[in-house]
Amino acid sequence: MLIDKEESEGGRRSSPIAFTLDPGSGVPTYLQLVQQVEQALRLGYLRPGDQLPKLREVVADLAINPNTVMKAYRDLEGKGLTAGRPGQGTFVQAGVQQADLAGVTRLRRSLTSWFSDAAETGLDEDGMVALFSSALRDFYERRGGAAQVERAARGARGGAA
């Protein structure tokens, strides 16, 4: 494989994280990369100042299109999570918020009370997941999805209602 000498000889990687792909997930490849970075930030694998895997490392590891990796990194930059440094790579921004533990605990508590309410109403586990996913999707679609298909989907559903 064509990896530059320092990397292949030292076995040293530029980033604390490595990407993996789930081919059966149906999630577009670039989005899987974005989500893995976001998840690594939430779980503390990545901290401000850390470097993301270099383009050529990702491409050589996963055999994916470099344009896909660049799209993911642009997306992360657009969200303000990372910034590119010319000639060096892509790094986690200094001001990125890590998970707020108290906030997460509070949200978890309110979800738990929602679960008991749902169970009393007669929903089983799958029913709760379906309702949650559907409401979550509607929430983000109302906030404005970019893709044309999402617009089409919304239009079709809106027309049905």
């Binding site: 494989m1 292949s8 577009p28 491409v59 050589a60 893709a147 298909v149 089409a152 239009g155 559903r157």
Partner: protein, 295 residues
């Protein structure tokens, strides 16, 4: 700049049309997948692009305007044919020297460096290399010419999954590091989504659909609804699956469309579904209209 442009490109062998009225404008920096069943005209199109065949009518240019097969084109285009032709009795090093002597501008140091990275012993006979190593050697010979466009005919058809992964990783790395544009043919669809960002789908010598993958996926969706409904005007059904009461329609949206039809729910499609739908439509060819290229 367009790395490949064709205008009404047509190739006939006697009475047989191998490629009909193919017009493409593919920007540089892409990994272009040329997809279609066996005998669809994929190799014909590749041979026309690299200048190994001449058009019956129409034209093809590469690298932003150089006629295919011209000196300028030959210097900037590298081709790995389907059977990765190498001399089995030669050593890997001899293959590199031979290719160097036969080509203008061959980067021997790069080729030997790649052999080292791949753990291929330069003195080893080509016939004694594994299938994956032979494919990598053929790719090395092509890349050492430092092309701007790399053309691969069914490059991984004969490789096991690991060799296939490593081969594609090498191609992607050349793309990432050296900015090479890639055109490759394949009749497999499963691994397409992770490698390709531009699709040209061809069957019976006709381009059925082509474009940037992102645009194609945004322009199609799968509608589910009752059988008696039809999507709105301008929506084109590529593939329909009917039950007694329910139907699924893989549809192409008219430009700038926002609403399909009342009563349908919609979900995005992936590249494999999309390609499969167009291949099935072309295979059925029940309507003459479906033989028109869709752009």
């Amino acid at each position: 700049m367009n790395i490949i442009e064709t205008h009404a490109l047509t190739k006939r062998y006697g009475a047989t049309s191998a490629l009909t009225d193919c017009t493409l404008a593919i920007p540089e920096g892409r990994m272009v997948a040329l997809v279609g069943p066996n005998g669809a005209g994929k190799s014909t199109l590749l041979n026309l692009v690299v200048g190994l065949a001449t058009p019956t009518s129409g034209g093809v240019t590469v690298l932003g305007g150089a006629p295919a097969g011209s000196l300028a084109a030959l210097d900037g285009v590298a081709f790995v044919a389907q059977d990765t032709p190498l001399y089995r009795s030669y050593s890997a090093r001899d293959m590199i020297r031979l290719t160097r002597d036969l080509n203008r501008g061959f980067d021997e140091a790069y080729a030997l460096g790649r052999l080292r990275d791949l753990d291929i012993e330069p003195g080893r006979q080509v016939g004694k290399l594994s299938g994956g190593q032979r494919a990598q050697l053929a790719l090395t010979l092509a890349l050492a010419r430092r092309p701007r466009l790399l053309v691969l005919d069914e490059p991984t058809a004969a490789l096991d999954p690991i060799a296939r992964h490593d081969f594609m990783a090498s191609v992607m790395t050349a793309m990432a590091v050296d900015g090479v544009s890639v055109l490759f043919s394949s009749h497999g669809l499963a691994e397409l989504e992770r490698v390709t960002d531009y699709l040209v789908l061809i069957s019976h010598g006709v381009v059925r659909i082509e474009g940037a993958v992102e645009d194609l996926l945004a322009g199609h969706c799968l509608l589910t609804g009752p059988v008696e409904l039809a999507p709105g005007a301008g929506w084109q059904t590529i593939q329909a699956t009917h039950g007694g009461a329910q139907q699924h329609l893989l549809v192409r949206a008219p430009d700038g469309a926002s609403v399909a039809a009342a009563g349908f729910s919609a979900r995005p499609v992936n590249l494999e579904e999309l390609a499969m739908a167009y291949l099935r439509e072309a295979g059925a060819a029940t309507r003459p209209a479906s033989l028109e290229p869709i752009r």
